[in-house]
Symmetry: C2
Subunit: 388 residues, 2 copies
């Protein structure tokens, strides 16, 4: 496989904004896309292509999301897929396409086609150039690496991602791509990616908003030469699944750390819920609470706001069994503040960049961990002062 970038000039800027990845014949693909009911035509295209299981190319456009553009947006995606299919001699459905940027403006087909022609003849580039080119409001290029042993064969995974709000529809959509040389059946890859997504990308939130374009795709070229994996019972499947989950977690955390205006990375662990799903919903209720997030920005051990966020989650909770900790320090237990708890380690913990909040509901065995960032003046500045 080879990576190339080019200038399609989707905006009036002097940077590469089209990423083109050629994949080896026989590459398997899996993917997860936004839950939005108003998705972009790129998302609709990927939703149709992913189940076919094979891919030969990926095209990512930055600067124009092509969302809410009706049939003209769809035509742009079809034109891109057709042009790449013609170039490679593959099916259009073997070409995966993503776009990120402003909404409501159809992606200009002439710019996309000229950009592709430039990309076809460009020198191959490295991961960092690709990670930079898919980015928009990102403040740094985001990549991660993992590996696993399958029998005697080491397989590698490399991932790149963009996103800084979770997820602003204009310029901060989350687009993630994972590439591996492992040989794996696409159905199994999909099963593993869906499971990993549930514990990683689905557990991060910057501002509770959901993009019309969020997409994570995994490509497996099979070039490592391992015995192809087709079921979770195959040798090495557990190790590969763990590596895939690991790289997804790394990429998800990078997005949160680059959250718009973020100054803190916050891990919220919920246990003692009636189920894992219930714990997940309670965790997200805390992570999405503007009052909790502003308290964290203010380095304030305001556990009352955590109680509030638990109470509004609509999940089973018993006020008088609740325990809450900041870092390693229990601040409330059994429905009461811990009298005379030592405030010094809590204050020190909250002054750091990595914050942990622990909640024990005391009801059952359900648990979940979610990640978010604080809500600061920086978020307001980025989003109130951004012009559509």
């Amino acid at each position: 496989m080879t990576l190339r970038v080019a200038q399609a000039r989707y905006k009036d800027w002097d940077r590469c904004d089209l990423t083109y990845v050629e994949l080896d014949a026989g590459t398997a693909v899996a993917g997860v896309t936004t839950q939005s009911l108003c998705p972009s035509p790129e998302v609709e295209w990927c939703r149709d292509a992913i189940p076919l299981g094979s891919a030969r190319a990926l095209v990512v456009n930055a600067g124009n999301a092509n969302a809410f553009t009706g049939h003209r947006g769809r035509a742009a995606v079809e034109a891109i897929a057709a042009k790449v299919a013609n170039h490679l001699g593959c099916l259009p459905s073997d070409v995966l396409v993503s776009s990120t940027g402003v909404i409501g403006v159809p992606l200009p087909i002439d710019k996309a086609e000229a950009g592709l022609e430039a990309a076809f003849v460009a020198e191959p580039c490295g991961w960092e150039a690709a990670a930079t080119t898919i980015g928009t409001t990102d403040t740094y290029a985001k990549g991660a690496h993992a590996s696993a042993m399958i029998g005697d064969t080491r397989v590698n995974l490399v991932g790149i991602i963009k996103g800084s709000g979770m997820i602003a529809p204009d310029m901060a959509t989350m687009l993630g791509y994972i590439f591996t040389d492992a040989a794996i059946d696409p159905a199994l890859l999909q099963q593993m990616l869906s499971a990993a997504n549930k514990r990683t990308f689905s557990c991060i939130t910057v501002d509770s908003d959901t993009s019309t374009s969020d997409t994570v795709l995994a490509f497996a070229t099979g070039k490592a030469g391992n015995a192809p994996m087709t079921s979770m019972d195959d040798a090495g499947a557990d190790a590969f699944h763990a590596a895939l989950s690991d790289i997804c977690r790394q990429l998800a955390h990078l997005v949160v750390r680059d959250g718009e205006g973020a100054t803190k990375f916050v891990e919220i662990s919920v246990e003692g819920a009636v189920s894992d799903e219930s714990a997940h919903r309670i965790g997200l209720s805390i992570a999405n609470s503007p009052l909790v997030k502003t308290a964290l920005a203010g380095e304030d051990a305001n556990w009352g706001r955590v109680v509030m966020a638990i109470g509004k989650a609509g999940e089973p909770a018993d006020r008088d069994r609740l325990s809450i900790r900041f870092g390693a320090t229990q601040v409330a237990t059994g429905g009461l503040a811990v009298e005379g708890y030592d405030e010094a380690p809590v204050a020190a913990h909250l002054k750091g960049q990595d914050i942990e909040i622990g909640v024990d509901l005391g009801l059952g065995e359900g648990r979940a961990t979610v990640w978010t960032c604080d809500l600061t003046h920086g978020y307001i500045a980025i989003n109130a002062d951004y012009r559509s």
Copy 2:
């Protein structure tokens, strides 16, 4: 009925913070309370007392929410009710109690009792003094008035409310009280209040957060001398219901207008949804979206963010049937931006203080209206810099 205020000194401040309302014998009561599953003991007390249907007094404490305080918080509520019941010769369950302020600190019983003793002998005061005394972070006292004809008898309704975040658990809980001289059966009053609540208080949001203490109570003394209303079919019941809904809407809007950091009052009207409930959920998804709210703060006609918020609501929506307007100007229709729409009236509308967003889903007859405010640096300043 008489209103009195006193200084219980729940905080180290020099203002009245205890409101005491004596109600005539035979006063009917109805109420709605927070959906929170971690409510304050005051909310639990009111939930038990409201169904009994009668009330003789209301006590509101400002400066201490008494929430998440276990059995000691409960004991404080019981002590207040017992003291007032002893003073008036009524049942403790005839005494409704609310508290608002910091969480996690049991309400000091000695201060409450001393405050009540001062209130019992204080000069009666007017509505504005009561509205001021129940307030915390509110920037102004909030009251409203309505009236209705029941047969030949004019009945009056007066309401006071506090709240500025919707609803910060620390100091910005929403507490609303409506007083009328109408004669009405408590079950009918409850039916009308619940219906009005659904269209008013349940349709406002400042920051999506829900207090552990939110409470709205309605008291009807019966002193107007109208023929008592016991069913919606009774003469004047429609007029009274309309007046009650009107005063609830006025009070709800006052809370939004005083939203923490708010500079804009935003009305979001959704029509064409598959049901009223679906329209309501879509409206709240838009109203709670940080990206929509920051765009409004920036006076930016960013309808892409409205599409995003509709898409994430999880309700039936078809991108290609969506229409969106700002003020009277259609900016998107049938899944596309309206080409060449006149930006001048949109820009002028967004510069105003009262903003209207209209969404037509084009699917059915469901409709709902919700109200919110913008999300500004002021909100961050109030909540990140507030110390618990």
